[in-house]
Amino acid sequence: MTKQVQQLDRVIIRFAGDSGDGMQLTGDRFTQETASFGNDLSTLPNFPAEIRAPQGTLPGVSSFQVHFADHDILTPGDSPDVLVAMNPAALKANLSDVKKGATVIVDSHDFTSRNLSRAGYAENPLEDDTLAEYDVHAFELTDMTVEAVKEFGLSRKDSSRAKNMFALGLLSWMYGRPTDSTVTFLERRFAKAPDIRDANVTAFKAGWYFGETTEAFAVSYEIKPAPMAPGTYRNITGNLALAYGLIAGSTQSGLPLFLGSYPITPASDILHELSKHKRFGITTFQAEDEIAGVGAALGASFGGSLGVTTTSGPGLALKAETIGLGVMMELPLLVVDVQRGGPSTGLPTKTEQADLLQAMFGRNGESPVPVVAPRSPADCFDAALEAARIAVTYRTPVLLLSDGMLANGSEPWHIPEVADLPMIDPAFATEPNHTVESGKSAGERDFWPYLRDEETLARPWAVPGTKGLEHRIGGLEKGAGHGNISYDPANHDLMVRTRAAKVERIARDIPPLEVDDPLDEDGRGADILVLGWGSTYGPIGAAVRQVRSSGHPVAQAHLRHLNPFPADLGAVLRSYDTVMVPEMNLGQLSMLLRAKYLVDVIGYNHVRGLPLRAAELAEAITKEITR
């Protein structure tokens, strides 16, 4: 019997289970299948900070949401259309997010009284009316998996561990996903354990066949590929794209990359990734602490490397003094902060963008640092390359603010041609740059380490080993030009202003802010602008689309450069009656905009550790418009 195939334009699926159930892997495989099929997609992994929280409990639930469509989409989606729950806790923890009428697929195996009470269910929700409003499909996924793989002679425990692949097979059938890449993946991953490999492949196929034969599902679904610009694509997470962007910063500048880092969630993946690519001449140094990580990176920069350090909020706090030293010594240094919930240890595995003010001001003295932020997982590549460009060109530490949502989320990436990537010129100093004016050496050429480029105000970068340019730098205030220690009041005032001016100069090579305004063409312009930065790009874009589709014009713009701002930002802000700034913090960009431009922006702020919800934001925008 051939089942009916129903067309859909988009679907949101959430896989949820215990931390040990392999939900991240399941979601990742489904995503890879979906990506290679050609849908546009966006993903949201969500997992606890504990490696193995107590089994079967709410804190131990791990989930992976994937949104895929036949058109271009911006977010992992607010509410799942399909929830796959591998145990009672997964059902309990996720049900409130699921749309009424949505499909709920449950492994009923763990719905025992013990596990139900662990999850906080007094009654079995499969047997009362808890799920009355959903399209529930409860199966013995575990038993079916064990039965399917019994020929491999694994223990019951090992057999049942393949249940995630059974579920993946079932979902892959439901949505017509290509399966070859998952089979290949499993064969490679478990190459050294043939029985486990075979059990997983068999469970995966068994799940697929179950979908095809069971009468529980009358239809399967088809989501056509999304139209995309011609080119080669791959699915990529933000941390991977960021690591690639750093490597590109190295190849495009010709500077060897040095990463000094201390492991911290959710930034560690960048360290892991870069440590795999030593053939690019990359040194990865796992330091004794955050301070040593950035210190070693700065030392490498002094020696002519592209010094990079990666961290998350608490680590950035520890690095502050060294970043200040980098500001004073005016050396390139890339500081990557993959933001997470704070303050203090906060929410290590959840997202937030509340380190903006720390990035801007979290150092002693007047210590300006350029700040760059990616807007989506794939955009982490371009943002990292841009941050490297600024650091090298302007001889300055640069803060790159990613976040947990970007780090672990993924989307299709149109792989760029290397030939199209910008080149970065390190322009090392090789010759003396100054003529001695008086004294017995008058007329001789010497080297002044703080004699600046007139255009960029950057100082020369003379690396050790360069004859005749021996010089000393450090944290004490330097005299303008000659760079010797200076306590002169007027000199300090000049140097403070010059360092600030240098960072402001960067705005000269930042493109004007792109504003997407539906009323731009008739010259009128919308009344309201929604302005964001970082990972809120997706939710803001989705919300703006929803508002527009309900007939209200609304403009959208997104900042990549947080310091300096694009030169035209003030004019853009003033051209709208209302400016709304959604952020996953209590209004940090709002504060900067208000302070700098005296524009009364309206904040929209949530700090739930999760991306903003597009539907709620759309409601807030609409309310503002119709007020």
């Binding site: 050609g38 694509y233 791959r234 000094g260 040593a292 210190g295 020696g303 730098i473």
Partner: protein, 353 residues
């Protein structure tokens, strides 16, 4: 003691084209230490000794932290960085790992290296990064005007401890040996000859060399090292360590270091027999005896101190191995931009036409 050139520690550092002199290593900056400060003597020794190394001046880098001694780089006409408090070993680690052609020196003090920067110091020693750390120990905080330091004797009365300090001091040599430093030595600011010979050996060593330099602060801790400097007392106060030599001292060499069968350590004995006197073995792979010798130094007011090279052993270095890994990984990679294109297009890809 003298190593044949090329010295292992400087193996990849280019040699100077022509003989150099002290003047070339002296910067145009006025030295601003207090009159009588021991730092002057160390600076003079270093300025005198660097030309003898025969390295290109532009391939020498001095990195320092914060404190009186950390002004050192400003007075040498080499490359230099006066960094932040306690972090010089970390900064130098990044520099030394990426630049094998540099001779990297760290200048630090007892507060800088052992208090705020203690973590970086032990980890640099553990990793054995190729650099030479000069630890100026004056047993006091000078630049902040006279508080006790982590090497001050217990009960030290200072501005911050009017009733006496309470903490036990670190013995820097014991600490370094505990971290299994591969070159650990102690010398004295006023003994130019000994200082120079230890610095030469330290520079020649491949790996992290730690040289503790007893250095007098005439303003806040004057006389802290009088016992080992005074012509009358020094012969009995200094326990001299020279590799392969029996450890005998005293005016008439009547004192000797012998093994203590009961504690497993070592002790000083009067008129020991030649057979009992310990022959110093700085090259012993196991640091236990070196550690025992380090314990002969007083933790309170200094009356006895072992001086010399405690430990000097060959071991693989972090930076050499890090560069080897890169060289292995790079084999066959000629054009990194081509390699980048391959990397970006790796994994599961699909084409849209």
């Amino acid at each position: 003691m003298t190593e044949l050139l090329p010295l292992p520690g400087l193996r990849h550092v280019p040699a100077a084209d022509a003989p150099q002199n002290r003047k070339e290593f002296t910067s145009d900056q006025e030295v601003r230490w207090c009159p009588g400060c021991g730092d002057y003597a160390v600076l003079a020794a270093v300025q005198g000794f660097l030309p003898e190394l025969g390295l290109k001046r532009e391939n020498i880098v001095f990195v320092s932290g914060i404190g009186c001694s950390s002004r050192f780089p400003y007075y040498l006409d080499t490359y230099g960085m006066h960094s932040i408090h306690g972090r010089a070993p970390a900064i130098a680690t990044g520099l030394a790992t990426t630049r094998e052609d540099l001779s990297v020196w760290v200048v630090t003090g007892d507060g800088d290296a052992l208090s705020i920067g203690g973590n970086h110091l032990i980890h640099a020693l553990r990793r054995n990064v190729n650099m030479t750390i000069l630890l100026f120990n004056n047993r006091i905080y000078g630049l902040t005007k006279g508080q006790y330091s982590p090497t001050s004797e217990p009960g030290k009365v200072t501005k911050s401890t009017p009733m006496g300090s309470l903490d036990n001091p670190f013995n820097p040599v014991s600490l370094a040996l505990g971290a299994e430093g591969t070159f650990v030595a102690r010398t004295v600011d006023s003994d130019r000859k000994h200082l120079t010979s230890v610095l030469s050996a330290a520079a020649a060593h491949r790996g992290t060399s730690l040289v503790e330099i007893y250095q007098n602060c005439p303003i806040f801790n004057d006389g802290a090292f009088d016992a080992i400097k005074d012509n009358e007392s020094r012969s009995e106060a200094i326990i001299p360590l020279a590799h392969g030599e029996p450890i005998r001292f005293g005016r008439d060499r009547q004192l000797g270091v012998v093994r203590d069968r009961f504690t497993g350590g070592v002790r000083i004995e009067e008129n020991p027999s030649d057979a009992d006197v310990l022959v110093h073995d700085a090259h012993a792979a196991d640091p236990t005896t070196a550690f025992a010798l380090s314990r002969l130094t007083d933790s309170g007011v200094l009356a006895h101190a072992a001086i010399g090279i405690f430990r000097q052993v060959e071991a693989s270095t972090y930076d050499d191995q890090a560069r080897d890994q890169i060289a292995t990984a790079r084999a066959g990679t000629t054009d990194t931009r081509t390699a980048l294109a391959g990397l970006l297009a790796s994994g599961d890809t699909w084409d849209v036409v």
